[in-house]
């Protein structure tokens, strides 16, 4: 670890954030494809994988049930915001509380089980993932079973109306767009509108068009990256690395591995829960419990491994590559092919969407063969 330079992000992190930030511009250039909506899932999975990275990459504990914490976050968010329940605390409080509930759940699972070694812990987390999923399915009174809790409100931008008003005063502001119900819309500046085309609408922060919604998620991702980086370079991060590298030696340095691991577990679970909350908000529903099954945990693990275990930049890049492929590129390709009449719905082999896991498997095999440390290396040591 080099001495921390006092900046929010490393150059690599700036690069991946900039890469993501470019998405809405693609929408602007090619209005027919509309990536901002599906790209939100990339951000969600990036946060999920960053949470997993704390546990797997930094502390060296294999967690195969991270999706359970995502589910807990999603359902906590659902219960706290849905109109069918009395809480309705709004997007931001619900997001914070989901994170806290996720951390608590992680702590609850970790406290009795983190003394298990290696494979046994993996089995416990695997089982926990299944238990949570089944529990959510069967606690019908609370979770509405397979229906999921819906509808959930879209995120609101704090002080959005005020920002709008301020912007309209300086002339950048915008017309009240059709989807900005409930905001104190400003007067239409038709001149600006016609001159710059769609651009002014962009600055109408308070209305949740796909671009703004995406940027909101991206800002949250940036905050998560910044906090992760703080942890990485802190005393706690050092304790995690020490436990990962040699638990006995760490113990002999007066570090209590159990406590360090518990903190890692709770931090990872909190991030996963935040990802779950954002996922629920993205779908406007918690969806059914099967949305948070074992495959999600494995996908998160693949993201961490392909991107570069232990590297924040790598993990975000991994999310862009893996989730971008499965949730954005392949569905778009499938749609395009169907529109062109190449693919048919009857023939499963003709739809690129169905090759997702084949490509994942291939990617993993190739990565393991040619670049076992992931796209972005963190290891300085020479491999023995």
């Amino acid at each position: 670890m080099a001495e921390r330079r006092f900046s929010f992000f490393t150059p690599g992190q700036y690069a991946v954030l900039a890469l993501l930030a470019a998405t809405p511009f693609i929408d602007l250039a090619f209005p027919s494809i509309q990536l901002s909506g599906p790209m939100r899932t990339v951000v969600v999975y990036a946060i999920l994988a960053l949470g997993l990275n704390v546990v797997v990459g930094w502390t060296g504990l294999l967690n195969l049930g991270i999706a359970a914490f995502m589910a807990i976050g999603a359902y906590a968010f659902g219960i706290l915001t849905a109109e069918i329940y009395p809480f309705q605390v709004g997007f931001w409080w619900a997001l914070l509380l989901s994170g806290a509930i996720g951390a608590f759940a992680g702590w609850l699972l970790g406290a009795p089980t983190l003394r298990l070694r290696g494979d046994y812990l993996a089995i416990v987390t695997l089982g926990f993932g299944e238990i949570v999923q089944d529990g959510l399915k069967n606690l019908q009174t609370i979770t509405k079973g397979t229906e999921g809790i819906n509808p959930l409100p879209k995120p609101t931008i704090p002080f959005g109306a005020h920002i709008d008003a301020a912007l309209s005063k300086v002339g950048v502001g915008s017309a009240a767009t059709t989807d900005s119900a409930g905001t104190t819309a400003t007067t239409a500046l038709s001149a600006t509108e016609s001159v710059a085309g769609a651009l002014p609408r962009w600055f109408d922060i308070s209305s949740e068009t796909p671009a703004r919604w995406f940027y909101l998620y991206l800002i949250l991702l940036a905050v998560v990256i910044c906090l992760c980086r703080n942890l990485e370079f802190s005393r706690l991060g050092r304790q995690w690395f020490a436990v990962r590298e040699d638990e006995l030696a760490a113990r002999c340095m007066a570090i209590e591995p159990d406590k360090a691991k518990l903190k890692a577990f709770a931090a990872g679970a909190a991030l996963a829960a935040v990802a779950g909350a954002l996922f629920a908000s993205h779908l406007a529903s918690t969806g059914e419990p099967a949305n948070y099954d074992f495959q999600v945990s494995i996908l998160a693990l693949c993201i961490v491994i392909v991107g570069g275990i232990g590297s924040i930049t790598g993990v975000v890049l991994g999310a862009i590559v893996m989730v971008g492929l499965s949730n954005v590129v392949l569905p778009a390709l499938t749609q395009a092919m169907q529109r062109a009449g190449i693919g048919s719905t009857e023939n499963v082999l003709s739809s690129p969407d169905n090759y997702k896991y084949l490509i994942f498997g291939l990617a993993l095999v190739l990565m393991m063969r040619f670049r076992p440390d992931g796209i972005v290396h963190t290891r300085k040591a020479v491999k023995k």
Partner: protein, 334 residues
Amino acid sequence: MRFGGLTAVKDVSVEVKPGSITAVIGPNGAGKTTLFNAITGVYEPTEGRVLVAGRDPQREFSSRVTMGIVVTALATAIFLAVLVRVEVLWQAAIIDNYVFQQPFPWMKAVAAFFTTFFGGGFFGTWLPLLIGALLGGAGRLVIWSRTRRTPDVIASAGVARTFQNIRLFPELSLVENVVVGMDRRLHTGFIGALFALPSALRERTKARMDAMALLDFVGLADRAETAAANLPYGHQRRLEIARALASKPAVILLDEPAAGMNPTETVDLMRLIRAIRDAGTTVVLIEHHMRVVMGISDRIHVLQYGEKIAEGTPEEIRNDPRCIEAYLGKEELG
């Protein structure tokens, strides 16, 4: 110290004067490293104690432990009792009271929650509470009793060590390795770490400066940012010593510090160990290099087959017939 039926170290008592260098020697398999492991808590000694400045470093059964047990027992009890009837409670507290888009009667809901919670009868309320309390309390008690004398407790009491087969953190840089050793003197908590609060950053900068000073002391400052795994063997031993010193221990246990070193490195090492002693740290070492042992020790203890066969100054040990026998066998010296 026994492993099953095998007695590895028996009735060995080593007294170490503060500010001295004490060596423990003996043929391979005599139990020297086992002795170190028993002292530092890697093994739980089957009999005997370790006293540091007259105190036995252990997690006491203090009021904090009692509190912990009570709180855990209560928390698990409530958690379990809520968990087994979570749907009933939810129905009574939330669903029965909430009318769509009407203000929610919070007090009524809380009252309904408690009535339902305690209205579960023996199997609904009291049995889960009892089981939860027993599970939580017993679990916490077991964890306490099993971690009474773990290496971190011993290390916190001011006993640092190095390992016979080097155990560095290979992927961390030299300076990070040393800062990890410093951990018991640092105070940054989770919040400070998460938000990189000024106090945490100050502490970090200070820790790194101290670590650089220590690296300088063992002569590795010029490679501070390389990964520990990339160091040559002899340097790794010195780094391990620096890491052990970083906690400012009262006693430092060195397990074969000169193993695998060439003669010049050995001479440097002897100088280093003397410097550690002169800085006020008590040194106990296991060593096979007789030149090192005889050259720097104030007192030597000799082990054979897990028992102490001699103790004395280097001069006395050199002339002790049993020690000569232990090392060289019974034949006459030629």
